[in-house]
């Protein structure tokens, strides 16, 4: 393609897909090759039609995909409110309603579709609306102000969305579907029965199998009449009965049209005229039109690749969907209802809970063909993935939708083809043979060899379970050594560090390790050294995990977030003003954390020491939000202000937070103190939680609110403050000494033989005779506390470590920000 002559490209339609084509042209850097004219029928630039329902309570700006000046900035001529009326394919000229004549080299139809209006008498009455454009919605909004009852014609996706919008406007809302069930294209009868029940619970009235003859009323509509002579009074009607492609212009200029409508296209998205393309809802590929936006985007991509001489092909799109309809999970994938081939079906139908799951599998029981999930769609990703990958099913496929029967069943009894890692499609059999064949002994080795657990990490517990089970079968004692550089467990290394008085990673590696170390052993040992000695972590900066390295949390775009400590969540007005001033000065995005503190985002590496110098000036210390260490001790306001409180929870939480601040643990530790049994501080979801009683404090241990929520268990009751702290000292030190790296207290606890009674034996009744030692060790770490940020900004050598470039004083030039709700947020595009 010669680069000196630009291609005149005319795009008819400025909907989501037409816009996407413009966006792709700009984003892929090929804009220079085109002169672009876009004609749009609507008076406003392309907006997000999928989120149209939200327009009922939002402004148009929120939905607009790009403002008019975006088109100007990129030299795209946008003609709004000016549809193309005719095309001369011989002379290659389009003529618009306003009389603009443009000649084209290439033409793209992205005219979309219009609502299908069923042949019913009275659709022209006042109070009858379509549901397609912003203008339609404006009219509905206006009309709805003075009426009470609304009816939606059509129980498909869009119709149900419209119903939700009308319900939210406070109208009595009915949905009429001519088919015997809701969402007839996606759901079977039982599924739509469940969906219907759930929707009716929210207040929508649903009528299926209703054939309409007439909308009647004198001028304005006031009722719907049915074939069976019944009627339904209504003030407003919204028609959402499907779509038909806007192919009339294409018909006029004699492009080939598919029998069921839509401009026929080939795998390059070319129509019967090779210089004319069609994309989105107006295109018909293999006699199929697609009324969803994702296929439209895919088509835009294919058309562009052909326009610039690349070679991508369209093969039809997957219509699997997962969505929330009025709060109800609905998913449908593959061949859900109309199956062409012979198949078998597994159905789980819980009418009490309102959950329906259907899995269509091949006759040989090996593959998923498709399925439906209503009421609970959490398996959607896994199942859709298995279907796409043609994964072989486990022996008993029902476990895919109803879960494994026996909780404690040995994982090795799973079928070899059972998928463990969905991200990388790794099966149980692959993991087991990788362990045997390569003699793998650790989780990192399995991850590196099989890729299992390297993406989302959700399957890591299962991978570990498999490794343990295989080792157990081999008669091996499962001994989790740290990594290839240290042939010791964390517990052994921690003892070595203490007994042999090891202070640095290099020292420990010289005596007990080999090689250069890696990203596993370096941070793990850094954490142990910090737990053992509470020395300044930045002194050994380059063995620290990402966030400990710069004492801040790295965030998307490579900037950092900063959390000053606000013990117990108590802060003075002057403190708040100081935080505000600093945030303003360094242009930081501000947000409250879940732990009653304030988080600053978007700090540049070079600025960290200066920001902390100023924070320190106002008395703020590090909040260790970046550390596997003590985070917050959240509190309710307690008996000082609250008439229900029985103890002063704020004072106690501040005391506890200040006691343990700065200590490094195998993982982060969170706590809370509640001033009465109402538990406003949510202490039972914390690693250790304290709840006030009339007589003192109840102490709860090993709760968690994260990935796997788990309530903390009651450990001791009615303690005075001193005893409570003594028990927490023992507990935390025991955790430091015995837990694996990166193990939260809840996970650690779940593996302890004997559970909470065992902890009581060891930590209250001192069955191992270690309580005194635990207390002493804890006290010595506490005595070593220093605010590491205060130390860091004092020392110019440490401050130097925060330069972004060592050969330039500039900031990272790749960081870009944009504005959102009055604050900056990262713009995540690095070319």
């Amino acid at each position: 393609m010669s680069s000196d002559k630009k291609i005149n490209l005319v795009i008819i339609g400025n909907g989501m897909v037409g816009y996407k084509l413009c966006e792709k042209i700009v984003d892929t850097g090929v804009k220079e090759r085109f002169n672009i004219h876009v004609f749009g029928e609507e008076p406003v630039p392309a907006y997000n039609r999928v989120r149209l329902t939200e327009y009922f309570n939002k402004s148009l700006n929120d939905l607009t995909l790009a403002p008019s000046n975006w088109y100007q900035d990129h030299q795209i001529e946008l003609h709004l409110g000016d549809p193309v009326l005719s095309i001369d394919r011989i002379k290659k000229i389009v003529v618009s309603k306003e009389g603009i004549r443009i000649s084209y080299d290439k033409l793209v139809f992205a005219t979309g579709s219009s609502p299908f209006i069923p042949p019913i008498i009275g659709t022209d009455k006042k109070g009858v609306f379509l549901y397609r454009t912003i203008e339609d919605l404006d009219k509905i909004k206006e009309y709805a102000k003075d009426v009470d009852k609304a009816t939606v014609i059509g129980g498909g996706l869009l119709g149900l969305e419209a119903a939700k919008a009308l319900l939210d406007m406070g109208l009595e809302t009915h949905v009429l579907e001519v088919a015997p069930r809701l969402m007839p294209r996606q759901l079977d009868e039982s599924a739509s029965e469940i969906l219907k029940g759930k929707l009716e619970d929210t207040g929508v009235h649903i009528h299926t199998g209703k054939s309409i003859t007439q909308f009647s009323g004198n001028g304005s509509v006031n009722e719907v009449l049915f074939h069976d002579s019944s009627n339904l009074p209504t003030d407003l009607i919204v028609i959402s009965a499907g779509i038909k492609p806007r192919d009339e212009l294409a018909r006029d200029c004699q492009l080939e049209i598919a029998p069921r409508g839509g401009i026929r296209v080939n795998k390059n998205m070319q129509t019967s005229d090779p210089d004319i393309y069609a994309i989105g809802e107006v295109a018909s590929y293999n006699e199929m039109t697609y009324g969803l936006v994702a296929p439209g985007y895919e088509m835009a991509d294919i058309a562009l690749s052909h326009l610039i001489g690349e070679n991508k092909h369209y093969n039809g799109s997957d219509l699997s969907t997962k969505l929330k309809l009025i709060g109800v999970d609905v998913a449908s994938f593959g061949e859900a209802t109309e199956l062409k081939e012979l198949h078998r079906t597994i159905v789980f139908n819980d009418k009490v809970k309102g959950v329906y799951k259907r899995l269509n599998i091949s006759v040989d029981g090996k593959y998923i063909l498709g399925g439906i999930l209503v009421g609970d769609s959490k398996e959607y990703n896994k199942l859709a993935q298995m279907m796409k990958n043609n994964d072989v099913l486990p022996e008993d496929p029902s476990e895919l939708i109803i879960g494994r029967n026996a909780e404690k069943e040995n994982i090795l009894s799973l079928h070899d083809s059972a998928q463990i890692c969905a991200c990388n499609n790794v099966t149980k059999g692959m993991i087991v043979s990788a362990i045997h064949d390569n003699n793998l002994g650790s989780l990192p080795e399995i991850k590196s060899c099989t890729k299992a657990g390297t993406e989302c990490g959700g399957c890591i517990p299962m991978v570990q379970e498999i490794l343990d089970a295989v080792n157990q079968k081999k008669g091996l004692n499962t001994r989790k050594v740290l990594c290839e550089h240290f042939n010791y467990t964390r517990q052994e290394l921690f003892d070595i560090i203490k007994v042999k008085n090891m202070k640095t990673f290099n020292e420990l590696k010289r005596h007990y390790g080999k090689g250069n170390g890696c990203e596993i052993c370096k941070p793990a040992i850094a954490s142990m050294l910090a737990s053992a000695w509470n020395d300044l972590v930045i002194k050994q900066q380059h063995i620290q995990d990402t966030n400990d390295k710069f004492l801040a949390n790295i965030q998307m775009g490579g900037t950092y977030s900063i959390v000053p400590r606000i013990p117990g969540g108590e802060i003075t007005p002057d403190g708040l003003i100081a935080l505000g001033e600093i945030a303003k000065k360094y242009d930081l995005y501000c947000k409250f954390t879940g732990g009653q503190r304030i988080d600053f985002f978007g700090a540049k590496l070079n600025d960290l020491p200066e920001i902390w110098r100023e924070l320190g000036h106002y008395g703020f210390e590090s909040g260790h939000a970046y550390a596997r260490g003590m985070r917050t001790v959240k509190s309710c306001v307690g008996s000082t202000w609250c008439h229900l409180g029985v103890q002063d929870s704020v004072t106690f939480s501040i005391q506890v937070e200040n006691r343990y601040k700065g200590i490094r643990f195998p993982h982060k530790v969170k706590s809370a103190v509640s001033g009465c049994v109402r538990e406003c501080a949510e202490a039972q979801s914390k690693d250790f939680g304290i709840i006030a009683t009339e007589k003192g404090w109840n102490l709860y241990l090993c709760g968690n609110a994260g990935l796997k929520p788990q309530h903390a268990l009651l450990f001791a009751t009615d303690l005075d403050s001193e005893t409570c702290i003594k028990y927490i000292d023992r507990f935390l030190m025991f955790y430091i000494k015995t837990a694996d790296h990166l193990t939260r207290t809840a996970t650690w606890f779940n593996k302890l033989d004997g559970g909470i009674e065992y902890l009581k034996d060891v930590l209250i009744r001192d069955s191992l005779g270690i309580c005194e030692q635990l207390e002493q060790e804890m006290q010595s770490i506490i005595d070593n506390y220093h605010c590491e940020w205060a130390e860091t900004v004092k020392d110019s050598e440490h401050k130097k470590k925060f330069r972004y470039f060592v050969n330039s004083s500039s900031y990272d030039p790749s960081i870009q920000f944009r504005d959102e709700r009055g604050q900056k947020v990262p713009e995540l595009s690095i070319s």
């Binding site: 060899c449 890696c518 380059h542 995990d545 470039f805 050969n807 030039p813 690095i830």
Partner: protein, 112 residues
């Protein structure tokens, strides 16, 4: 036409022991590391190809079976500092640069 330039990137003493630093050459960001165990400097692109973030100079260096590597600080993807190959058996590759030390300065060879 390709030209090879030895770019005087940084004072050797500015590269932390067993750690990394980032340098700027025109619009390019390059990560330089010094391994005390190997007594060697290494250089590679600063961009992690996984999530396209400018972060590799802030990663932890080490070895895998003797092969020097850097692990991305964000998601721990590891890359050989010799070949640039991803060491988690994934389809990523980074660019590495020849490095030499002369009179206390680190030089990087850049192809343009």
């Amino acid at each position: 036409m390709k030209t090879l330039t030895w770019f005087k990137a940084a004072l050797a003493s500015d590269i932390p022991l067993n750690g990394g630093a980032c340098i700027k050459y025109k619009e390019i960001q390059i990560a330089i590391f010094y391994s005390e165990d190997q007594k060697k400097f290494y250089a590679c692109q600063n961009l992690c190809p996984h999530k396209k973030q400018m972060v590799l100079s802030r990663g932890i260096i080490g070895d895998k079976g003797g092969e020097p590597k850097v692990a991305c600080p964000l998601h721990k993807k590891s890359f050989s500092l010799i070949s640039g190959k991803n060491l988690n058996n994934e389809d990523f590759q980074i660019k590495t640069y020849p490095v030499r030390l002369e009179e206390g300065y680190v030089y990087i060879e850049i192809e343009e």
